[in-house]
Symmetry: D4
Subunit: 158 residues, 8 copies
């Protein structure tokens, strides 16, 4: 018995903002007709960096400019994570992406189910994060497969 | 005074997947016109066993294959239990059904009202689980009677 | 600025079942056009007493018959209290109404705002319960006035 | 295997203040050598009634005098209930004892194990409170037996 | 990727009731087409002061009149703060506005994101409150800019 | 029956730092032999203002200097409030003392019993804070009387 | 750097009561000098079955006799699980041991770290329980090794 | 007024394990006579990597070897973080240290005060983590200064 059609699943897509993984997951979920509301951090890198000074006024010092921006971004991210049913956390091969790991820890403490998404070469470095997750995917398509199964009970080819 | 019509009750049906008890409860609730959204684990046994390797990729070792599958299934079950108003837990006469007892403990710690459903011959073995429940039913029809009463205040024949 | 029209307030009406106070509150709220969804325990005394044996099967001993009934009733009451924004608790001049005081304590521990409703002659006996409430009303009309003010900001004659 | 000697169990004794049931439980636990720290509301009726005006200053109106007293008493009772492992709630045959039922509801919402203590003639009126308890005792000696078993695993005569 | 259109953000506007800052934020959010449901305390000062005696009956002593009014107002404010995604707290240059600071502390303990709104001359006095906030705005327009960014990812001029 | 001697009560003294009210409460509790561990914010005004730059390094801008200081002070105050059984909040006649009101709101959301301490001339401005408290004292001696009663059950002259 | 010597770790040993696994873990922890306070359910099977009727009085019906016993046992088990740092859950090859699975679910919902202990032949049936655990041991000695590592950082032979 | 001597502060030191920052903080706190109990993850890199296979048995696949090790390590780290008053999170210039960021997110969701410790060159990459902290230190000595101030109210040179 599948969950009733009325239920919409809220999935937060945390992490890397330099590849099209979110679009691929959304497209895949759309093709599968899944009742999912996706949410995410602001993925426009420049806007995200200016989130504080662009809204609350100028600030000359880099540390505080970042501090202001991170505060404004946190209003969005923490609200959406608290509202999410499932949190997907993507780690790419560039940058340190500490905010993705932070989101994973935040989600874990709240008891949210987590799916991580990254290449095998990051496995050892991400072992604590993966352990806190319910599953580790290698491709956006696998995340769609997980969502389809979780929501409808159907496996690929099933 | 009954609860207003607008309220929909979310009932999670945990446990045994080899008999038609869920269908009977859903049919009974439908006949009674109860505003209930039922949810459940994936009840296709083969799909459930393949939930991990069917979505996240192959795995040769049985322990880890099960581990992957249980992780993916937990995304569904724990989300739906957290969202439920009432959790019904069914124990059949076959298999060990430790996941049903696990769901009961999980629900109890969250303060969810539980109704257990099983034959009298399991009473002694299930005494701790039954004690954590608000009631123990013997038939699917009794569960429907409980739901009708809880939602509308009507007793059978009332 | 009043709360936006879209918000519906959920008000649970706990306590005495032998007078028409619930109907008067509901009628008053209806006349005032307040967006309130009222809920309540099952107020049919006979049905409430038979809630267990009427759904889960016969039981000869009085203590356990009551125990079964209280379990089934608790599925309803605790679910609706947890879902409520406001809990109104009515104490009449008959019976001991320990379940009303129990509901008040349960609501207080959950941080729910409580309004008590009773005559002044019960004040001393109810002082602990009244202290945990946000206000004590003497009439159903006063409860409607509180709800109108809380929801719309309008005082009677205002 | 019993709990290690180092553990001290905190038991809160709520309810009736006009008989010696607390002393009997404490004496019984002392004779059994149980590592229990008992706590209770202030049981001097006159002092309890004057808790507000005796500490925070005079007040002419009866309602507010009670309100002040109930506030000061709640500092004690709610702190001790939150700190308790087990809450025993006693109902006698006099007075309405709504504060005892309130404490029971408060404890239940916090997930505290409850033992009720009252005569059989109050069973029907207390059915909701008893249902939320882990057990109902008829005598102070039975409460001691429960504590001894819970702490040491020994039954009477065992 | 912006949050999906279906999501409505609930924003509670706490604090000063003697200037038009709420109207300016609501107007700005309306012009920007943001899916926001605003809520607020009752901002009619006279009604707010009479919230208790205007609903629950006369009271001669000033302290208790205020006490009754604050209780009724708290039903509204605490319910709306608990339901809010974001809490904006405004401090003006008049009055002590301790209730605004109280709301900020209440929101912080609940983990709600806070935006404070006040002039720079209050910075030192408000440093603890500002530290608990995700950002400090100087104008209502800046609050709108924060909301637009948080909800749509768009910066002013972006 | 008093609480057992082993229990030590933790009382946090929040608010005004320019009079000797804390010393008077501590002295009074000491004379009464009460088992209380008092805690408080750093009450050296100059040190408190320099808490950030004195530990984490220089900062030229006043807003961020305060921000750093408030962060370091919050490590102390929020830890001690979370660990407290009772929170006393003092408002004096100078300064705006928004941090005291913030502490009160923070404590209220955590379910901590609060006692406020202030003159009657502040009653109207503090009505929301007082409503969230279990009692309002006018003098430090009254706070001691409350603590003595709460801990030992003894009233002054009793 | 190891945890400081002052910290004592509380470990609850849930599950099978027909073999000596608890004694072996306790002996091993003792030999390793680990600062652990172990706790457990009452492991005397006959006493456990009589926990209700042996303390609260006779009861003729088997279902209610079990119900009473399970209530009294739950006072012990749920208190000790809530107080535990780590929960070890043992499944043997006999009986259904639903209470062990219930304890695991209860612990998981509370965020307690779990270690399961069972033979490989139970792996498939216990996959959901194992997935909620931080590790699965095959022998009591492995549990001791986990505890020693967790507490002191030392591996066997390390 | 300083916190009473009896209080011991529990500080968890998360993050980098390749420099002596923990020893420097502990030495500094020791010299200052601060009542602090420090705790930390296992900092022996080889032991930490073998935490799973060294206790629970061999495993050939790298992913699952890491998975087992991360599970055993999480028993320690999550227990100690939950028990901590303050969490210090250190980021060094090598490795990705995602577990440190994960710990920060986990601590933030639990409401624990956080102090981050890292060089300025990591500021931009760590802005989300720093925003969730109460302060950012550059040296171990600054962390000691923060602890001394938080616990005793004394600033360096004060």
């Amino acid at each position: 018995m599948a969950a009733p059609p009325a239920r919409s699943w809220r999935v937060y897509l945390s992490g890397e903002i330099h590849s099209d993984w979110r679009e691929r997951i959304e497209a895949g979920a759309g093709e599968a007709g899944l009742p999912v509301e996706f949410s995410a951090p602001v993925t426009d890198h420049a806007a995200s960096d200016d989130a504080g000074v662009g809204t609350l006024g100028e600030e000359g010092e880099a540390f505080w400019r970042d501090h202001m921006g991170a505060g404004v971004n946190a209003i969005r991210t923490q609200t959406l994570i608290r509202a999410a049913d499932i949190v997907v956390v993507r780690f790419g091969d560039k940058y340190r992406q500490w905010n993705a790991a932070f989101d994973a820890g935040f989600s874990a403490a709240l008891g949210k189910p987590i799916v991580t998404l990254h290449d095998a070469e990051l496995d050892h470095a991400l072992k604590e994060v993966d352990r806190a997750a319910q599953g580790t995917a290698r491709t956006a398509e696998q995340v769609v497969d997980v969502l389809r199964y979780v929501i409808t009970g159907q496996l690929p080819g099933g």
